[in-house]
């Protein structure tokens, strides 16, 4: 565990951005809760396993995001979107994730369209680009 911490801190230094140790990983409570939910009721999970899963999940996010980011860079795009994530998952061997993910994104976009309609009726504005729409949504902190 110590080695992992050391290596990650080096990575952070290389990036130049200072990231709090607490923010480097997803919360262990969420990780533990989800593990308990998926396993049988009598299963026990050691604290070490939860901490290891935290590391694995963080590495998974970096792994997928790097692949998607690389694809966007090659295509001269500046924003990573959901399709890029699906593509990255399929490329990296998580094929069984890609199809449910597309359905998930499809439903999300339906909700987004409805949400935009409501906003347009209220404000009377017409968005010019999709990126701007997404940017505004992210600023508003819209979440399902």
């Amino acid at each position: 565990m110590e080695d992992i911490g050391g290596s990650s801190s080096n990575d952070n230094n290389n990036n130049g951005g200072i990231i709090k140790e607490q923010d480097r990983l997803l919360p262990i409570a969420n990780v533990g809760r989800l593990m308990k939910r998926i396993l049988p009721q009598n299963a026990k999970i050691s604290k070490e396993a939860k901490e290891t899963m935290q590391e694995c999940v963080s590495e998974f996010i970096s792994f997928v995001t790097s692949e998607a980011s690389e694809k966007c860079r090659k295509e001269r795009r500046k924003t990573v979107n959901g399709d890029d994530i699906c593509w990255a998952l399929a490329t990296l061997g998580f094929d069984n994730y890609a199809e449910p993910m597309r359905r998930y994104l499809h439903r999300y976009r339906e909700v987004e369209v409805d949400h935009n309609k409501v906003n347009l009726q209220e404000k009377g504005n017409s968005p010019e680009e999709k990126d701007d729409e997404l940017f505004k949504l992210s600023n508003r902190g819209v979440g399902l």
Partner: protein, 234 residues
């Protein structure tokens, strides 16, 4: 109970039959006396029976956990045991009555815990169906922060964050299930680091985790490898 020699061998016989039949009701009745509890602990029973024994081994846990269900089952088993031996059934009845009194004292706690469990099971069912309309499990800002740390120049859309959140959830579920399969194979109670490491070493899709979760090796083996590779290496 312990003073009389005759009832002991008969109880043993009943235990063997109960284990072979794997009937919930009888095992619970057999486990109530202390001596029998100890024996059941030592015996190597299948996992399902282990669950039952765990519930029955300590009366305190029985009180706190679902107390209503075993009451009903015990009542049924009592009637079943009557034709076998009258003397034993009387004693069991007395013990059961005492336990029932104790249990009735704490109905609220058991109700609370049972509700929580039911909710958990429902969620599990929902996941099985593939419904994805739930709230995201992990905080979005945290994921955004992690991604920004990875590549500050790249912008990430809201839908990409949602996609990653969803993918992480699936990844964690699948990884946990596969690790638990090894946990079961080893007949361990607690999911531990070794089971996660074993999943990583066995499946190629988890190669990206091999540096983070190496399998644990004994010092002797590590030293042998080092000596075999030669001192000129790392």
């Amino acid at each position: 109970m312990t003073s009389s020699n005759s009832p002991k061998p008969e109880k043993k016989i009943t235990k063997n039959t109960e284990i072979s039949k794997t009937q919930k009701k009888k095992t619970k009745n057999a486990e109530t006396p202390k001596t029998e509890k100890k024996k059941t602990k030592n015996a190597e029973t299948p996992k399902t029976e282990k669950k039952k024994t765990k519930n029955a081994e300590t009366p305190k846990t029985e009180k706190k956990k679902n107390a209503e269900i075993p009451k009903i089952e015990k009542k049924k088993t009592k009637s079943a045991e009557i034709p076998l031996t009258d003397g034993k059934t009387k004693r069991d009845r007395e013990i059961a009555k005492e336990e029932n009194k104790k249990k009735t004292k704490k109905p609220k706690l058991s109700n609370g815990t049972s509700k929580q469990r039911d909710e958990g099971s429902k969620k599990g069912v929902a996941e099985g169906k593939g419904e994805e309309g739930k709230m995201n499990v992990f905080p979005m800002n945290r994921i955004r922060t992690m991604i920004k740390g990875e590549d500050p120049d790249m912008r990430v859309s809201q839908e990409a964050l949602l996609a990653i959140n969803n993918a992480v959830e699936k990844f964690l579920e699948q990884f946990s299930q596969e690790a638990y399969a090894f946990c079961v194979r080893d007949r361990k109670k607690c999911l531990s680091y070794d089971h996660l490491a074993h999943v990583v070493s066995k499946q190629r899709r988890y190669d990206f985790l091999s540096d983070f979760v190496p399998e644990r090796v004994k010092a002797e083996d590590a030293l042998r490898e080092r000596s075999a590779a030669g001192t000129g290496g790392h």
